[in-house]
């Protein structure tokens, strides 16, 4: 018999695996030239997206960053539209105009990945302001990396959110790297000290332990929903792939790089599932489902058409009503 906690974990497992397999597929498609531009994968960081999003509703909003595939999938963007977008197709969720760095889905409160480091933070503040004015108990979540800590908007946003008691959760995904430079060469403060200075509660969690992330987020989110004001969550995690696909990561210590697999959130989750004596066929079934979904999304992406340029100029501004 499958316990509730087992069921929950199986759910996390499946969602994390979906993110992972999507990204590995995108990596392969990229290598084959089927994905234009550049893409940043969150391989190894899936527990953050899945764990945090577990506590959110569709009417909650998130603002993401350049490494946003996991956030998008976890928030519920349609997988076919997601692949179509990243592959630059007309049927993509953004019509092929945004690509990996700009995946967005307003219908599920995903306000967009973002190509500007830190830019999602004040966007989420604005979204939280809307929630506060509408008095709807919705919350906004800003996802950003450790590299974004050095941007001035973080400071401004921390202050404004705290001053106005906005319903927002700031999630720092600390993977120790900012492009090719380690965090230690980038930022001297600890996230929790900053949060404290701005009079916001903060938590630090092992970002590779999906249950821990989900538990902590659930607690935090329920406080925020009951007008508890902003909070900060730092998730420590590891970046497995290069900054972008194709980055050979020569700047990383071989041992450190080798050790990342010890922290793989999916492997860790599977170990717990095994300890819980989860039936092998349950896991196998998940793997099959995930593989099928990814392959369907890939097919959908490939079947998409190249976007046509013709109507674009008329679509820079909102068409007049009735037009």
């Amino acid at each position: 018999m499958t316990s509730n906690s087992q069921k929950r974990l199986l759910g996390f497992y499946e969602r994390m695996l979906l993110v992972r397999e999507c990204e590995l597929k995108l990596s392969a498609l990229f290598a084959d030239g089927e994905v234009p531009g550049f893409i940043h994968l969150s391989v190894g960081q899936e527990a953050v997206a899945i764990g945090v999003m577990d506590a959110l509703n569709d009417s909650d909003t998130i603002a993401s960053n350049h490494r946003g595939h996991g956030h998008a999938i976890a928030k519920g963007v349609d997988l076919d539209s997601f692949f179509l977008e990243i592959m630059g197709k007309q049927e993509g969720i953004c019509g092929g105009r945004g690509g990996s760095m700009h995946v967005a889905d307003m219908s599920v409160g995903m306000l967009g990945a973002n190509g500007i480091v830190g830019a999602g933070i004040p966007l989420a503040v604005g979204s939280a302001l809307a929630h506060q004015v509408h008095n709807m108990q919705n919350i906004a979540v800003a996802f950003f990396g450790d590299g974004a800590l050095a941007e001035g908007v973080l400071h401004e946003s921390f202050n404004l959110a705290s001053l106005w008691k906005l319903p927002i959760l700031f999630v720092c995904e600390n993977n120790g790297w900012s492009e090719f430079s380690p965090t230690s060469m980038q930022f001297v403060a600890e996230v929790r000290d900053l949060a404290t200075a701005f009079k916001m509660p903060s938590r630090q969690v092992d970002g590779n332990d999906v249950s821990a992330v989900a538990d902590v987020t659930a607690e935090i989110v329920s406080t925020i929903r009951s007008n508890g004001g902003p909070q900060v969550l730092e998730c420590t995690t590891r970046r497995v792939h290069g900054h972008y696909e194709g980055d050979p990561q020569q700047y990383r210590d071989a041992d450190e790089l080798a050790s990342v697999s010890d922290y793989d959130p999916i492997v860790l989750c599977e170990e717990v599932l095994q300890k819980m004596k989860t039936a092998g066929r349950d896991i196998a079934a998940i793997r099959t489902r995930v593989a099928d979904r990814v392959s369907a999304a890939t097919d959908a992406g490939r079947a998409g058409t190249l976007p046509s340029f013709g109507h674009l100029l008329a679509d820079v501004y909102t068409p007049a009503r009735g037009a």
Binding site: G98, A119, V125, G126
Partner: protein, 324 residues
């Protein structure tokens, strides 16, 4: 309604927009309790409450980006940047977020926000409190840029800007705040992108916007006495700008001058001149002349600033040049 001041007209447009649409919010530095550095937002917080009319910290970048996020989440924010010189701190929000969100997300959302900001000199406020940077915004696909020249237009254009689904930069020349002008009793919004022929004339077309509309009208009056009739076009908005009206006027006068307070080089006038040198080429009987500020920061001293600012003499010299 009789005569109202420019600042009052803006206040009225904000007031009515707050009244009629619960999604409108207004925020900026010292705009709520103190009523704004130029008194333009006076009384709004008392009337609509602290939730919808807010004083903010000095954090321009975040204010503008927060307006974008709020606009994507159901509000219609009107954010004030105290002097246009300070939009330098908020260009990411304007350019990379507000201007692009609709397009790059495939039309999934609009960004219905307004950024109000004063530009221009005349107060001896010096090089960092006097700049006219509207040409920057007009260069960015996705932004609209509106610059009213009188109280009634300020009202009608601001109503339109707030109702507009896309991000609008609403530029107020601070020398105009105290200016008075007539206003109808129940005026409607104006259409953004439609110019107004402020004075019809036959000899030279003068295209302008904002505070220099007055300069052009004054010059037109005095030139008229010597038999030269200027047609003064008040663009009202520079992105989009009303090419058809300008071209039609040029086809009547065959002579074109563009006048604005901003630095001439790479300014708004460059676009209008360039466009007319293309689509209006056959109509041109004389060089296109631009009148604007010289290529230097706005100097502080009164004696310098008054020479710096383009005035009626500069315009009249240009008129004589195109008629020579």
């Amino acid at each position: 309604m009789g005569e109202v001041r420019f600042g009052q007209a803006i206040n009225l447009a904000l007031d009515e927009s707050l009244e009629n649409d619960p999604s409108v919010v207004v925020f900026g530095e010292d705009i709520a309790r103190p009523g704004g550095p130029f008194g333009v937002t006076r009384g709004l917080q008392a009337k609509y409450g602290e939730l919808r009319v807010r004083d903010t910290p000095i954090s321009e970048a975040t204010l503008v980006s927060a307006a974008v996020g709020a606009a994507m989440s159901g509000l219609k924010p009107v954010v004030e940047i105290m002097f246009m010189d300070f939009i330098t701190l908020a260009m990411d929000g304007l350019v990379n977020q507000a201007a692009k969100a609709r397009f790059m997300f495939g039309g999934q959302c609009s960004v219905p926000m307004v950024l109000r900001t004063p530009h221009g000199g005349g107060l001896n406020a010096g090089p960092q409190h006097s700049q006219c940077l509207e040409a920057w915004c007009a260069h960015i696909p996705g932004l609209k840029v509106v610059v009213p020249s009188n109280p009634a237009d300020a009202y009608g254009l601001l109503k339109a800007a707030i109702a507009d689904p896309d991000p609008v930069i609403f530029v107020e020349n601070k020398a105009l705040y105290a200016a008075k002008g007539p206003m109808e009793d129940a005026p409607g919004p104006l259409e953004i992108g439609q110019a107004h022929i402020a004075r019809p004339g036959t000899d030279v077309t003068v295209v302008t916007y904002g505070a220099t509309v007055k300069t052009a009208l004054r010059s037109a009056g005095s030139l008229s006495e010597s038999g030269i009739e200027l047609e003064v076009i008040d663009l009202r908005s520079i992105q989009p700008w009303d090419e058809a009206t300008v071209l039609a006027s040029l086809s009547r006068t065959h002579r074109l001058i563009i006048l604005h307070e901003a630095v001439t080089a790479f300014g708004t006038g460059a676009e209008i001149a360039a466009r007319m040198a293309d689509v209006g080429f056959d109509e041109l009987d004389a060089p296109i002349v631009r009148v604007g500020a010289p290529f230097m920061p706005v100097p502080f001293a009164a004696s310098l600033e008054s020479q710096y600012l383009p005035d009626a003499d500069d315009l009249i010299a240009a008129v004589h040049k195109v008629l020579a």
